[in-house]
Symmetry: C2
Subunit: 139 residues, 2 copies
DNA sequence: GTAACTGCAAAATATTTGCATCCTT
DNA sequence: AAGGATGCAAATATTTTGCAGTTAC
């Protein structure tokens, strides 16, 4: 198993296909920033739109990637760094959206602080998205 | 100025029209939870889709309402409680999305905690969205 | 061989733009 | 009267669904 994509797919009981390996490789190459469906589509021409949607869905369910909420109406995804299993995501890190270059990054070292919920509310997931100017654009 | 909707529109230099007053009234009535475009459309039949989009945009720009990030591909909006002016939103409260009833609520009393950004990152906005089961659905 | 995966067509949903008309100020 | 707001048509973008054909195991 020299190729990590094959390894990851097999570990998650997913068939090893060319399209999935390519999508996974894209995520591995873009470790720093999140990818939108359109990013993948333009990088991997020849791969059907629908297949990409279904692959992203499968990867999310398996805990290989996680989705990042955004206000611009397009879903973004990034690799899970560990601790995510079948149906359970444990990505407690903060996401950063740069208003200048438009990239979305996982700040793996910044974890989401605890917040006390009001009486009666049961929290199962907490998302934190910071917008501003990223370190690359500040330079 | 007995009607608050007229007051709000005038204060923000927006023409007082029937459609805008109705949309604003809807937000005033649903103070607790956020509204999607489709919620407004189904409540105010007869009002054009496009007009609703443009009204939501105008209200957001004026600081009357604010948008709430979500992963489901439909924008949500809620009234600003104060401190929001032309182009500057200061809604530092946490939003709660109920996975059972689907509603999005503003937890006005829970403010977003401070998080230190890594070197080089400049934060201008911080969003926090908690998912789980709301107090109404827990009962 | 069988179940899983893919591609194509089509539909559903969300949002934007242009323009002519109407209404608020 | 003038500028802003609305309605309608149409275009664009995003995502989902159905189904037949193909591929992985």
């Amino acid at each position: 198993m020299q190729d990590p994509t094959i390894d990851i797919l097999k570990r998650n009981n997913l068939s090893v296909t060319e399209g999935r390996r390519n999508i996974l490789q894209l995520f591995l190459n873009h470790n720093a920033s999140a990818l939108r469906h359109s990013d993948i589509e333009s990088s991997l021409h020849g791969l059907d739109r629908v297949t990409i949607y279904r692959t992203l869905q499968a990867f999310t369910e398996k805990g290989i990637i996680h989705s990042i909420p955004g206000s611009d109406g397009a879903a973004r995804y990034a690799l899970c760094k560990g601790g995510c299993e079948q149906g359970h995501h444990h990505d407690d890190h903060v996401h950063f959206v740069c208003v200048r270059c438009g990239s979305t990054q996982c700040l793996d070292d910044v974890h989401v602080p605890y917040v006390r919920m009001p009486e009666g509310f049961e929290a199962t997931k907490v998302e934190m998205v910071v917008s501003g100017i990223c370190s690359k654009c500040r330079k």
